[in-house]
């Protein structure tokens, strides 16, 4: 009885606040998250989003990679999603109704190219005639082609095949492939079974090709429920802070979420760069609404690369990519 009373009161208060703001409350929020090692797992595990959005049905959907996430967004199956820079460049160019609102993570050695240690592969040139796998359209596919280009190795001199990360792990165990550029938690399976790391995504970032994942929101959702976009960011920021302040507890959460040994989870965590929300507004990342940061440069460079690869029809003007990055919500959350 008491419980019911409290619940009714809570609902009434909520309804009041909602009407006071003149904004509806979504019945359900669907968050598509990438199968990666980052603080989104912490936010999900601790139920931080549910705390920010009481009374809202929150649904998490695990998505294998950027290509699938693009399809989910095009099909309007998610409200919030996460995308690496190549799928983001694709989505922005193809005018998908989304905006980038949050830095989910910067990619370091959590994404790497693994090669078979018994095949004498010490440089990218040794990949000639070998079979190399990467999930097409993802950050690693982009970096693979970029790295080959920088070293002057012709991609046609090897067999580059398209596999999902979990399929790469299976194909690796069978011995079907000689090298692969992909990410944790599956990367580790290849490394532990006769693989060694040749180059990491962090190495490529230092060479001027940073890769990252950005949180996106569907435009229609953001227009209808702007305060819920802020709530989403707030929850994710709490997750990021927890990650930075409690590395040990975070490792336990990651280990549990991905069914991994604790030691592996700890190592994978260190290969992912988490950016505290108050730093996301600096020049290095999103920048501010007035002056957008380096993420726009990365998007333009990525889109340009994809156009030259004939994966995109044309390079949009820089302004379109600037419009895609929307730091306004996170600015409000931080109180700037």
């Amino acid at each position: 009885m008491m419980k019911r009373l409290v619940a009714t009161l809570a609902l009434a208060t909520l309804a009041l606040t909602a009407t006071a703001r003149g904004e509806d409350k979504p019945a359900k929020v669907t968050v598509g998250y990438l199968n990666l090692v980052n603080a989104q797992l912490v936010t999900k595990h601790l139920g931080l989003l549910a705390k920010e959005m009481p009374g809202v049905d929150i649904k998490y959907v695990k998505v294998g990679g950027g290509g699938d996430m693009l399809r989910a967004i095009a099909g309007n199956d998610v409200d919030f999603g996460g995308l690496g820079n190549p799928p983001t460049a694709i989505g922005a160019t193809r005018a998908l109704p989304i905006k980038g609102i949050l830095v989910i993570n910067m990619l370091d050695y959590v994404e790497s190219m693994v090669v078979r240690s018994d095949k004498n592969i010490t440089s990218l040139k040794d990949l000639k005639g070998k079979t190399v796998a990467a999930p097409f359209g993802s950050t690693t596919h982009y970096l693979l082609l970029q790295a080959l280009k920088d070293e002057g190795v012709e991609p046609a001199s090897m067999k580059i095949i398209d596999l999902a990360p979990s399929d790469i792990a299976a194909a690796w165990l069978r011995g079907d492939i000689d090298a692969a550029w992909f990410w944790e938690p599956n990367l580790d399976k290849a490394v532990k079974n006769g693989g060694k790391i040749l180059v990491t995504s962090g190495d490529m970032a230092r060479r001027g090709y940073p890769t990252w994942d950005i949180g996106v929101v569907m435009n229609a959702f953001a227009e209808k429920y702007p305060s819920y976009v802020e709530k989403f960011i707030k929850a994710e920021c709490e997750g990021i802070d927890f990650w930075l302040k409690n590395p040990e507890k975070t490792a336990e959460i990651i280990a549990e979420e991905l069914s991994l040994p604790l030691a592996d989870a700890t190592r994978m965590m260190k290969g992912t760069g988490m950016v505290p929300c108050n730093q996301q507004l600096t020049e290095e990342y999103l920048g501010t609404s007035a002056k957008k940061g380096k993420f726009v440069d990365t998007l333009v460079a990525t889109a340009d690369f994809l156009v030259r690869q004939e994966r995109l029809p044309k390079l949009l003007p820089r302004a379109e990519f600037e419009a895609f990055i929307q730091p306004a919500y996170i600015e409000k959350v931080i109180g700037r």
């Binding site: 097409f136 067999k159 095949i161 398209d162 596999l163 194909a171 069978r174």
Partner: protein, 279 residues
Amino acid sequence: MSVEASPVAIPISADRTRRGSWRLPTVSRSVLLSTLTVAMLLAAWAIVTGVGWANELFLPKPQAVWAALVKTMTKGYQGATLFQHLGASLYRILTAFALACFIGIPLGVLMGVSRNARALLNPLIEFYRPLPPLGLYTLLVMWLGIGESSKLSLLFLAGLPGIVISTIQAVTSVDPVYIRAAQSLGATRRHLLFHVYLPAAGPLILAGMRISLGFTYTVLVAAEIVAASAGIGWMIWDAAKFLLSDVVIMGLIVLGLTGVVLDLMMRGIAKLLMPWART
């Protein structure tokens, strides 16, 4: 045979000639009507996209699809021209289909002729027939790897049950009078097989082959999703990842047309081999 058939055949032909005097010949009228359907569809597509009712991301203009076709034919898509993609797919389909016929028809004949063989093999066929081929694919990839063999096996397994079952049916429905007549004239088992069973069952077996080719065709895109780098199915899948819907639709049209041509070829072969069959 002809005595039995004639009373049925006469009224139909009489009916046709009566009406045919003021209508177009049946064949050209069908062609006309079919053309009309296609033209209407194309017109609807052009109007819907032209007026701007459809988001170009999901339904590009016919011109865009045409441009994608021309570009893929001349410059290619990701390192292979349209004909190379088509060649890779046709090679997979036809090899798998040939294998399915090579194994499925003798198996079906055996199971049709011998009750013991049917009892022995039926549980296997009946169990795996309703299994969705895609469910098998994960296992095939684990067993056979990501190369051609798993793709060919998937296509083969998709085509096999249709052909086995229709062959069994074709053989068991052969009129026993033919068999007894041949036997009374001293036909051996070999004679029976090649001169009675196969010619009599041929038309039904062929119908089964056509259905089986269709089944093989439907799993093509699925087979080419895993680790292919050429093939129409792969091209569609890859283009979808980059939201290139013009290439996706172009690929689907090419797939559809190729399927129609393959089926026509099968019918042509049937007419050549079995002029007595009504296809």
